[in-house]
């Protein structure tokens, strides 16, 4: 823009972004700093109060600040852990030992076939002819991955999970994301493909109907409770089954079924968004692409694989990545909380079968008062999500301004 510079420019920019920075500082940076600090202490239900005589504590704890001092309790103060990283080693269990590291390497090995497939497919894409189609390569590769996982990955994961809730919860969350994301997008894609064809009657009606779960998803707590009612012991589904003479299972008390119910409800909340993103991308594909393919005698399947999917990729992949690491995926909380609250329980002190990362953290903080442990947990999860966010930025290239 126009050349104004020096102090005046700095003041102007500060005036524009100052309030945002202040807010971020207070409600984002401060909590992160606080969590990092608290993760090195032993703050829990037995040591809930800050020790204001410690200099670092007196800076970081609001209740130690001079103007609020009278409200702070000094009985049973918390102190630093010995060794300092004890919370982390409690969480990560065997990971910090040689057997744990070996197990982790074994888990990583399971992903090698997938990388090989991607490379093989890339190589074939550059060639003029393809000896085998991409789908066959993928199926073969997934098969190999499954076998490798069964032989190496599974025992390694058992080792990792043996004495640590952390890995159980994280693996389960990753499983949740790996299952829900494709399901949501496959349903969205199928709907978008059907509703993007001209010969279907009532397309406007169907499109409008598909908005409704999306609108309801802003009030996910209420609708999740309704879904929970469907799957209760004497809920709608079991009543229907009773009428035709079947005794339905206790849906939310069976670990596997409860997990499936959560995935189904998440589908209800998520598929309209996927559908709308994909439909928007489909409508931007020029029709002459398909006309040319028709002339060359391409089948519907070939057109889908070689025209439709590659062309909607740029719009869909960022949305998939963002929702996978966001509140609809890795950070899923509300829906699952309202339906199962992390249960069904598998015994005292063991995470329930739908206890995802955020639910585990919530329970640690608000039910067990294990602030320090939850702080360490938060730091580890944050590092993971931080890296994933930077990676997704690389994919979406959203940082590019208009005039750069």
């Amino acid at each position: 823009m126009i050349a104004w510079s020096g102090r005046k420019k700095a003041l102007m920019i500060l005036a524009f972004i100052g309030p945002t920075l202040l807010g971020i500082l207070l409600f984002n940076i401060y909590p992160i700093t606080y969590n990092i600090f608290i993760s090195f202490t032993n703050r829990n239900q037995y040591h809930p109060n800050p020790d204001c005589s410690d200099s670092l504590t007196s800076i970081i704890e609001p209740t130690c600040w001079p103007m609020f001092k009278e409200s702070s309790g000094i009985s049973t103060p918390y102190s630093y852990q010995v060794p300092t990283y004890k919370n982390y080693s409690d969480l990560l269990g065997k990971l910090l030992s040689s057997t744990g590291l070996l197990a982790l390497v074994q888990v990583v090995i399971c992903f090698i076939p997938l990388i090989v497939i991607a490379q093989v497919n890339k190589y074939y894409d550059r060639q003029l002819t393809r000896p085998v189609s991409g789908v066959v390569v993928w199926i073969l590769g997934l098969l190999v991955t499954a076998i490798v996982f069964w032989l190496i990955g599974r025992p390694a994961m058992n080792t990792l999970q043996a004495d640590s809730d952390f890995f159980i919860v994280v693996f389960r969350t990753i499983l949740f994301v790996i299952i829900t994301t494709p399901i949501n997008y496959i349903f969205g894609l199928a709907l978008a493909l059907v509703l993007n064809t001209e010969y279907i009657k009532g397309r406007t009606f169907f499109r409008t109907v598909m908005i409704i779960p999306w609108a309801a998803s802003t009030m996910f707590i209420i609708m999740s409770l309704v879904w929970q009612f469907f799957f209760r012991d004497v809920g709608v589904i079991n009543q229907l089954l009773n009428i035709i003479g079947i005794t339905g299972p206790a849906w939310l008390l069976d670990p596997t079924i409860a997990f499936g119910v959560v995935i189904l409800v998440n589908l209800w909340f998520s598929f309209p968004f996927c559908f709308n993103i994909i439909l928007g991308a489909l409508q931007s594909i020029p029709a002459d692409q398909y006309e040319a393919a028709d002339m060359d005698g391409a089948t519907y399947w070939q057109q889908l694989m070689n025209i439709t999917l590659p062309l909607i990729r740029p719009a869909v992949v960022p949305a998939i990545v963002l929702s996978a690491i966001g509140a609809g995926g890795f950070q899923m909380f509300g829906t699952v909380w309202a339906i199962t609250a992390g249960g069904p329980s598998r015994g005292a002190g063991v995470p329930g079968s739908t206890e995802l990362v955020m639910i585990y953290a919530y329970k640690q903080v608000f039910q067990n008062n294990a602030y320090a442990l939850a702080g360490a947990f938060a730091v580890i999860i944050f590092i993971f999500l931080f890296i994933m966010t930077l990676y997704s930025l690389r994919i979406t290239r959203m940082t590019k301004g208009a005039y750069e």
Binding site: P19, P62, S71, F206, F230, A315, G334
Partner: protein, 283 residues
């Protein structure tokens, strides 16, 4: 793709559409049916009563609106106040930041944008304890204003990014022409930037309002008591989270909460879809 398909394919496509329509609509339809029945009678439904309204009364709505035993209208007012204040403050704060990030070139600009997004990766649930402590220190704990403050910052990053994406699409030539005529950055923001960004502002406002209206975790922790100061979602959750749930009342409350939102969504449908893609979700 425009060729007419075989009849069998067509049948499958319509069947799929019908199944998905039922899947989308039935939960909402069920809530509407349940809101017309009295008390616990959900547990003794007949088959027909699950699909069509065999009997319908407005008793549940009357009880909910009367405020006894659940102060529904107070919850609704709290939620509306919180969501409304969140929307206004969020727009005030985020629009100027977004404009600055889009138009000005300064040291640390793109690093700041990335930092904003990366910091957002910190899970909200886990920042609740420090946020609650901070609000306690400011005397804003168990106070609607404290909740508004937390929501505004929670929405800030998303809003800034969305609006920045939109400002980027507005041609800068207009502002350059205005600058030659002697227009400073503040005028160009107030007189050109904001009026040009109206569609994006509308979408942002709607999303921010809905975010505040439906948020649950922060509201449940930051306003623990008394019942009358709770927000709608926390209140509704407290109704349903009992051993014997007054389902009729819950359903009536749910209908009154959800139907207005649905109408707004249906009305703003095309802007919403446009708004999501303009905010840079598109690659």
């Amino acid at each position: 793709m425009s060729r007419r398909p075989k009849t069998l394919v067509l049948v499958f496509q319509y069947a799929f559409l019908v199944v998905m329509t039922l899947f989308s609509l039935y939960p909402i339809w069920f809530v509407i049916l349940a809101s017309g029945r009295v008390g616990q009678r959900l547990y003794t439904l007949n088959l027909l009563g699950m699909f069509i309204p065999t009997s319908f009364t407005f008793d549940n709505f009357q009880i909910m609106l009367a405020g006894e035993p659940h102060p529904f209208l107070s919850w609704m007012r709290n939620s509306a106040v919180v969501a409304g204040l969140t929307t206004i403050s969020c727009l005030l704060v985020a629009t100027s930041a977004a404009f600055a990030f889009s138009r000005f070139r300064f040291y640390g600009r793109s690093a700041g944008l990335i930092l904003l997004l990366a910091i957002q990766a910190f899970p909200g649930v886990l920042s609740l304890v420090p946020v609650a402590q901070l609000l306690t220190a400011f005397g804003l704990y168990a106070n609607l204003w404290g909740l508004v403050l937390a929501y505004v910052v929670g929405n800030l990053v998303f809003t800034t990014w969305l609006l920045k994406g939109y400002f980027d699409t507005i041609p800068i030539e207009i502002e350059e022409a205005a600058m030659i005529d002697g227009c400073g950055p503040i005028q160009s923001f107030l007189l050109i930037g904001i009026p040009m960004a109206k569609p994006a502002l509308a979408v942002t406002a709607l999303l921010a309002f809905m975010g505040g209206w439906g948020e649950f975790v922060f509201a449940s922790v930051l306003i623990p008591a008394p019942n009358i100061k709770r927000t709608l979602m926390v209140g509704m959750y407290s109704i349903a989270n009992n051993q014997s749930v007054p389902w009729g009342l819950f359903a009536a409350g749910a209908v009154m909460t959800i139907i207005p939102v649905m109408i707004v969504y249906l009305y703003f449908q095309r802007y919403l879809i446009g708004g999501l893609t303009l905010g840079g979700v598109k690659g």
